[in-house]
């Protein structure tokens, strides 16, 4: 019934996955939100999670860096591997995990501090910079990678909340990059942005895709088609189909995927 990702991936030659879900179930109290998900997520490529609202894609995303820990009724079973370590059972420290698996949220959420301090916060708490000059270097390169440097280089001490929505979101991406993560999770990063800002974020994701494993939840199928190499379709807590983005959108194997893509469900 459900395509196992290992099968669909047999034809694509891949190194071992950066992150992998093995039989992941998530419960909110009695509500079975995520059902038995197996998924491989590879470094240096963008994976889109699509599906109708409430299908569990954001919940799954938040399991990948244990952001669901703070919800008391949330329970996760199965394995989520970062390289070879199970992030839920092994001795991995949550704080460290979140430095390795960064996150960008739906609504831009810069700290109400200066642009500089927004970027510098992560490196500071993780002790990544020994000197002020190192920190300056991290701030500069992070902003450059996020394509924001030219716009803000003269006003690093102004508040991050004073930027426009699109700039704020790129600031949040720069902030996530600054701690040098291996994986970046993005939870509908463009849903609060106008089309121009969205285009900038998308091209930014494209540029970053070679350096980080990027997993992005999106409601826009066009966006998924534009930016991701792999796409997973979620429906009612199940992962219905996973495969190359082009295949999912041109010749889906499952009826439900086709119905969603053509707008009949969702």
């Amino acid at each position: 019934m459900i395509n196992t990702p290992t099968e669909t991936n047999l034809d694509t030659v891949q190194a071992s996955p950066k992150m992998a879900a093995r039989g992941v179930n998530v419960y909110y109290g009695d509500n079975h939100a995520i059902k038995d998900i197996d998924l491989n997520l590879y470094a240096d490529e963008v994976t889109s999670l699509i599906g109708p609202s409430g299908c569990g894609k954001s919940t799954f995303l938040r399991c990948l860096n244990r952001m669901n820990d703070t919800i008391p009724i949330c329970r996760v079973s199965g394995q989520i591997l970062l390289e070879d370590d199970d992030i839920y059972t092994s001795g991995i420290d949550v704080v460290q995990l979140r430095a390795r698996v960064g996150m960008v949220f739906q609504k831009p959420n810069p700290f109400p501090k200066s642009i500089y301090d927004n970027i510098a916060y992560g490196p500071r708490i993780h002790g990544l910079a020994a000197h002020r000059t190192d920190l300056d270097e991290i701030v500069t390169t992070s902003l450059e990678k996020a394509g924001l440097w030219q716009e803000v280089k003269d006003r690093l001490d102004t508040s991050g909340t004073a930027l426009s929505g699109g700039q704020q979101q790129r600031l949040c991406i720069a902030r996530a990059i600054a701690v040098n993560p291996e994986v970046i999770l993005m939870d509908e990063p463009c849903s609060a942005l106008d089309p121009i800002a969205t285009a900038k974020i998308e091209s930014l994701i494209d540029e970053l895709s070679g350096r980080y494993a990027i997993i992005i939840v999106t409601h826009s199928m066009q966006q998924a088609a534009r930016i991701s190499r792999k796409t997973a379709f979620f429906h009612l807590g199940e992962m219905v189909e996973y495969g190359d983005t082009t295949e999912i959108f041109t010749s889906p194997k499952e009826d439900r995927t086709r119905d969603y893509i053509t707008g009949r469900i969702g």
Partner: protein
């Protein structure tokens, strides 16, 4: 009837006749109700403003004279025979001699020059009573501060007794029959002589703001109570703020949500509504009886008021902590901040304006409390300015209570004046709270 049925018919195929009489009347009624509602609200505001204006007007009217005091100018001869000669005696000997001298004799001498006809002990005593009993200390301090006065005659301003002061201020009705008033005809005639000689003046009285309490209204001041209040509030702030803040942070950010924390939450809200005198009983039982702390001391008062303020601080702090957007917590957590880092780097700084505002409002309430302090003995008559949190002290509201309870007519205005001082501090504290909120308020 037909009109009405037409209006209320739902889904009728006939379009609603918005111009019909019934509809117009309906709209008219609606506007009328609106007007009545608005005028009721306005009336409520006007009534409360009137009451406030009346209250403040009354206090200011009564209290304005409390800051002023009548003085009499007398030509005092600083008799070297009586006081000792500072050029002969050593400084200590001179001080000792001056301290032992009865200054009343200087006043008596100068009064005798003014009223040579007054004879007899009874009349002389009555004459001397025109001058405040504090005048002696006034003279003594004058001499000790300036020993070169000895041997000279100087015109000095001495406080009059509170009765004379009240006559000058018009608070004693001198048209009453002599038997029915405190100031007798003889005294009034002396006063008249002094006034004609231009020796009576009504001036600003700084001792009211710088002195301690006294049985004599003309000598009583609020400084002791102000210092007592300041020391007490300091203890309250130092205890209630950190405890309240950490309790709020724990309950809001770390405590598991279960029946136990629910009970704690409900009880904190209940504590905020407990009558303050109950906290006084608690303070009496715990701090005085069990822990054996000093009675009447600001440390006990401060701790008792801290108990009273804690619920306010906790509730205000929790509200402002809860108002910090979850997205900020997510952002920090997503970067790998530990729960404590999230709280200390982001939540508390962002909640601080609200926490400080709540704390200051709580402090303002503590500043105005008297009931719990009565229970722990801060209602004593204390003349000295407290020097530390362990000294006996009183606070402004209790001082007001004590003066309001005093029989002397002159304490009426002192009471109102002290209320004005208290209100000044309350308004100042609320002003600071508003200023803090405006300055640090975050826009999201």
């Amino acid at each position: 009837m037909t009109d009405r049925s037409k209006i209320t018919t739902v889904n009728s195929s006939v379009p609603t006749d918005w111009k019909s009489d019934a509809m117009q009347a309906r709209i008219g009624r609606r506007y009328r109700r609106e007007r009545i509602f608005r005028s009721l609200g306005l009336a409520a505001v006007v009534i409360s403003v009137l009451f406030l204006v009346f209250l403040l007007g009354n206090i200011v009217k009564n209290g304005a004279y409390g800051f002023m005091q009548t003085s009499v100018s007398l030509d005092v001869t600083f008799n070297a025979d009586l006081l000792g000669d500072p050029s002969v005696l050593s400084a200590e000997e001179f001080t000792e001699k001056v301290r032992k001298t009865n200054m009343l004799r200087l006043i008596q001498a100068s009064m005798r020059d003014l009223f040579p006809d007054v004879k007899g002990r009874r009349d002389t005593r009555a004459l001397l009573r025109l001058v405040s009993t504090g005048a002696r200390a006034q003279l003594r301090d004058m001499i000790l501060a300036n020993p070169s006065l000895v041997g000279n005659t100087e015109r000095v301003e001495l406080l009059t007794s509170d009765d004379i002061d009240q006559v000058i201020k018009g608070n004693i009705d001198i048209t009453l029959a002599e038997a029915n008033r405190k100031v007798k005809d003889k005294e009034l005639s002396w006063l008249k002589t002094l006034q004609d000689d231009d020796r009576i003046s009504l001036d600003f009285h700084s001792q009211f703001l710088t002195g301690g309490d006294s049985r004599e209204p003309e000598l009583a001041g609020v400084w002791g109570a102000i210092v007592g209040s300041a020391l007490t509030l300091m203890v309250t702030l130092v205890t209630a703020f950190p405890i309240g803040l950490f309790a709020a942070v724990y309950l809001e950010e770390f405590a598991p949500k279960n029946r136990f924390t629910d009970i704690i939450e409900i009880n904190i809200n209940n504590l905020a509504a407990v009558p303050s005198i109950v906290f006084g009983l608690l303070g009496l039982a715990v701090f005085l009886s069990v822990m054996g702390m000093p009675r009447s001391a600001p440390i006990v008062g401060g701790l008792t008021l801290a108990l009273l303020t804690l619920p306010t601080v906790i509730i205000a702090s929790r509200a402002s902590i809860a108002a910090v957007p979850p997205s900020i917590r997510d952002a920090a957590r997503g970067l790998g901040a530990s729960p404590m880092q999230v709280v200390f780097h982001h939540v508390i700084p962002l909640a601080m304006p609200g926490i400080m505002t709540g704390t200051i409002i709580g402090m303002a309430r503590a500043l105005g409390e008297s009931a719990p302090l009565l229970m722990i003995g801060m209602v004593a008559f204390i003349v000295d300015i407290p020097g530390s949190i362990n000294d006996a002290a009183t606070v402004l509201p209790v001082q007001i209570y004590l003066w309001a309870d005093s029989p002397e007519r002159a304490f009426v205005e002192k009471t109102s004046a002290a209320i004005m001082v208290l209100l000044f501090f309350l308004i100042a504290m609320n002003g600071v709270a508003i200023w803090l909120r405006q300055k640090f308020e975050q826009k999201w």
